[in-house]
Structure formats: structure tokens, C-alpha cells
Amino acid sequence: MIYRLPPPDDPLDQGDILDGCLLLELAKFDLEGTIPPATNYGFRRIIVLTQTCDLANAKARTVTAAVVLDAQSLVDEQRLKPADIRGPVRAGRVWGWYLLPKNAELGLPEMIVDCRQLHTVRMDLLIALCRRGQRRARVQPLYREHLAKFFADTYSRIGLPEPYETEP
């Protein structure tokens, strides 16, 4: 079982997928400070990346979250080809993109966790979303750790200038 839907009053946990998370985006800035920065806001689906042990001690006031994209929407917008999702994205070979499978029971489509779009989100905001029933699912252990490893690898990878030579 990849997903489980916890009750609304269940504590926030690593792997929780929430809808309608308020996120801010800096739209314009002026380093001279003469014009106030312009900030946009929007509501996105996110997944909690902060690890369970760091949430369990109830001391964290903020959570690291990644934006979750609808894979089909990216295809519909012709940003991706279906073969890209079936192949490299599903195999975890696209830097920073982790595919989560669909789940008809929970009404979740095929999703892409964008580990390059990270946000620091207030814990109380996410808890309020959970209580409002906007937590859609929780990625279960093994799959959760698989995502955590992918997230860590996204930022700890070391690239060589070019691949090693091999015999043809």
C-alpha cells in the first residue's frame, strides 16, 4: 500500500500530501528599497518532506514541502510527452522529479513531486489544512523513505565532467 488517508486530527507527518497550501512567490523586487516588493500568492498541492523524527518532537515550527504537479496537466499543456513520464520520470532519471502513482480510491492522479520547488511552510498552516480535510493522503513507509532518498540525492549528487570511457 503506497498511500493511506489519515484522519483529520492525525498529527502532520512526513509524506503527507495536502491540497490548497498557501504559497508565496516573489514577483518583483527592488534592491534599492524604493519600491516595495511585489508578492504573489497561490494555492498548491504540496508534500511534506521534513522527516518524521523532526516532526515528532513537536518543536519544528516550519516544514519543508515540495510542490506536487499533476503529470497529466503537464502533458495536456504539452510540456511533457506521455513517454517522458512512462520512461525517465518514472525511473527517477530526471533530476529533481519523483513520480507518485495514481490512486483511484483516494482520487489522486499520477503526480510529480518537484524536489526543485521547495517551500518552508508554517506548521500551523498545514495543521489547519489537515483539520479542514485538505490532507489527501500520506505516502507510506518504504515509499516515503524512497522519496526521502531521492530528495536527498537531488541535492547531494556529484557530477563528473564527463562519463568514464568504456570499451565499445
Partner: protein, 90 residues
């Protein structure tokens, strides 16, 4: 030889110190010291105040210099990463 010496020394009431004697044209020096007993191995001492029982540190947050009202906007399209071909490793 050693066994003979032990037998001889056991009969003497040796005290810690050094004895010099001449035997058969040789200078013989006998050094008597108390046998050292190896000290038991114990854990290194540490200051309990140095033990961090609660490693959580809350650093001071941002000191705001102003407040701006955000405007609603559709999310920016995702930055599409380079998609490797089937035979290409990332």
C-alpha cells in the same frame, strides 16, 4: 638460571632499592622495585554539562522591515528539467 635466582632471592628479605655486588669478577646490580599492578581501564571522565540532552536549537527568525500585501496569481509553470533519452544516464 632464572629459576635458580628466584630461589635464592626468595630466601633474602629484599627491600626496594639497588644492591651492588661483585661475583666472580663481575659487577652485579640488583634493582628491587615493587611490582606494578595494571590499573583497571575506566571510562574517560566527562563534564555532564557538556552533554547536550536536547539538541534542538531555535535560531532567531527574520526581523521584518515592512509588510506587503500579496496578490493572487496563477502558479508559475514548472521549470521542465532536461529529460534524458532512454539510453542516457542522468
Amino acid at each position: 638460571m632464572n629459576a635458580s635466582l628466584v630461589e635464592v632471592f626468595q630466601k633474602l628479605h629484599l627491600e626496594p632499592g639497588t644492591y651492588h655486588v661483585h661475583v666472580n669478577g663481575y659487577d652485579v646490580e640488583i634493582q628491587v622495585v615493587k611490582r606494578k599492578v595494571a590499573a583497571p581501564i575506566v571510562a574517560a571522565k566527562y563534564d555532564e554539562a557538556d552533554v547536550m540532552l536536547d539538541p534542538w536549537v531555535e535560531l532567531p527568525g527574520l526581523k521584518p522591515v515592512g509588510t506587503v500585501v500579496a496578490q493572487f496569481a496563477p502558479p508559475s509553470p514548472p521549470d521542465i528539467p532536461e529529460i534524458p533519452t532512454e539510453d542516457e544516464e542522468p
